[in-house]
Amino acid sequence: MDDQNKSGKWSRRDMMKGLAGVPVVGAVLWAGAAKAAKQKESRENILNTLNINASAPPDSGPMSGDPIRLGIIGFGIRGPQLCRALGFATKDWLKSMKDAADKNPNDTRLSSFLEQENLNIQITAVCDLFDVRAQEAADSFSNDKVKVKIYKHHQELLDSKDVDAVVIATADHWHAPIAIAALAAGKHVYLEKPMTHGITETYALQEAVKKYGKVFQVGHQHRQTQSFVTARDVIEKKILGHISLVTANTNRNSDNGAWQYDIHEKANPNTVDWKQFLGNAPDIPFNAEHFFRWRKWWSYGSGLSGDLMVHDYDRINCVLKMGIPKTVVSSGGIYTHRDGRTVPDVMQINMEFPDFTTGSSREAGKEIGMTLVYSATLGNQYNRTTVLMGHDASMELGSDLVLYADSNSTRFKDMLEAGTVDANVPLYRYDPSANAVDGITSATSKYFADKGLLYTYRNGRRVDSTHLHMREWLSGIRNGTPVSCGIQEGFEEVMTAHMGGLSYKLGRRIEFDHAKNEIVPVDGHDLDQVLVAEMDNFV
């Protein structure tokens, strides 16, 4: 061999050493291709089996025609947010967002706002019981064409001929009275959640919506969230099997998250219409804390059950359509913010649906009934996701959606045995935000965003879900298209919340009589009174 080398010819060994890499390249490329093909085949198999239709809700109708003239009733915290969703931001907000965007290029709040579709509306009227806020709205939203008029009392605003529709974002105890008056005055209504503060007024509002035939939408904007539409498809295709348990949670650990809002320095009996604020609440002297932090007292707010549980309940109800629970048991206490509040800051609400089923992959009659557990604390921020637990699979639901097969599933038994499905690896993941980069800034914002309450996505673009929800309401007014959270959805949401509050206050199980469509009376108690009374009256 050495002889051949010296003579300058190629030996077999030389050739092998020179070309040894060539088959290696081929082998590695083949291995890579085989792996990719296997992954693709496995993925396609699963997707074909699941056949999930990941789609957005249909767009609401066109916003053309004459501008709709809106009155804003309540311009505290949620009111300005709703106005931004409508395309109207205060001067202060625009300035602070510009500063934030200058500091942090990833902060897209201002650009998202500016890119929002023009909904072709005019804000013509505003009513807030705190003069400073009403003035801020009027100063910010008035322009050359339209001057925003300030009304001292909501009834004056409702009597105005310059208002076609109203947005109500007051304290809870004013929701139903103002909404009923608005409908009676011929105005369309967008009403913040919870729909009502008491039981009797809930039926009165239901009657008013039927009687006056105006477009009525409750502010559960997550119904626009794309992942929830996909989740509905997952349920309809019976991928989860029979769901026996759903858990939904609130974990917030900040002053803002515990409703400990700022008290405005200019608030005093001269700038706040205190008597009007009190309405049907107990008559007490002016109290700025009660005015700005009304969510902490049963007299004006609804506690965790009416304030936050309703979000979770309605998120599940729009996916499962399970309606009002048969029974509710609540417990909790004031464990993290002993600051004079009367509503609990830790609360668990167990809702039973003994006749409900999402379909079964097992023998008929074996599986029926479901519990929804809502668990909340305002003293911890650990992220507990919403999980729908079925015999065949579990679904984590938020702004995205993740499915895991259950290792003892009947439906996926063959795939689990064949190894094409692994119970520890997501069976399916749907993330409508996959192409978007977010700039969410506060802990409370993140809490809402994780639940799909803040933003959703259309064609890869982040959109404020409240914007879409209000657009849907405006399209109902303009084009007669349906709304997704009307009086029936609101009725189910708020009756469930009332049952949660009653159970907590009375320390007993509360039942709903579906035949009579009412909460079963509790001997010796006026449930309306129990619901809004401060806890000192009971314990």
Binding site: D14, K17, G21, V24, V28, G32, Q39
Partner: protein
């Protein structure tokens, strides 16, 4: 016949960095470096292959999860206007490193490209104290596997072996032939 021990452990650098060779290495030293070259080449080539054959693959989320002072750079690379090019260049570079190292041709170029890629990966998720090292399975302080592989590629850059085991031998036929030392 075996050389004296000191010849096994030392070699004389000839000329500049660019025309550095392993001609004076003991064959076992060359074999060891060749083995390392093949292993790293295999690693890069397979990484390239799984990405080439998976049309849904993108570096976007890896780039967006970048930490440390380089975050703005990687966020920019992940932007909609650039990500297609970035994905293509990443796969192309991985393939160049893999093919040159496995075939033993232009492997010094391949080694430099590989070092550049690995440093990018390193700085996207540096093993700095306090930085979360998502996706890694071990414990690292400043030094991680990306950095070690980059250092190994530097050795390959300094000690080319393609003329002894690889296509480059056909360009300089004398080198391919079995060496007696």
């Amino acid at each position: 016949m075996s050389p004296p021990l000191h010849c096994l452990l030392t070699f004389e650098i000839k000329g500049s960095l660019l025309d550095m060779t392993t001609d004076n290495f003991h064959s076992n030293q060359r074999s060891a470096i060749t083995l390392m070259r093949l292993l790293i080449g295999w690693h890069f080539l397979y990484e390239a292959a799984v990405k080439i054959f998976n049309p849904n693959w993108t570096a976007k989320f890896y780039l967006l999860s970048a930490e440390s002072f380089t975050k703005p750079l990687f966020t920019w690379l992940a932007s909609d206007g650039l990500i297609t090019t970035v994905d293509f260049m990443n796969i192309l570079c991985l393939a160049i490193v893999g093919i040159t190292l496995v075939l033993g041709v232009f492997e010094r170029l391949g080694a430099l490209v590989g070092i550049a890629l690995l440093l990018l990966y390193y700085f996207a998720h540096p093993a700095f104290p306090g930085a979360s090292q998502a996706g890694t399975e071990g414990s690292y302080f400043l030094i991680n596997k990306n950095l070690i592989e980059a250092a190994a590629l530097y050795v390959i850059y300094l000690c080319p072996t393609g003329q002894y085991f690889g296509l480059r031998g056909f360009m300089s036929p004398a080198s391919l032939k079995t060496s007696s030392n």
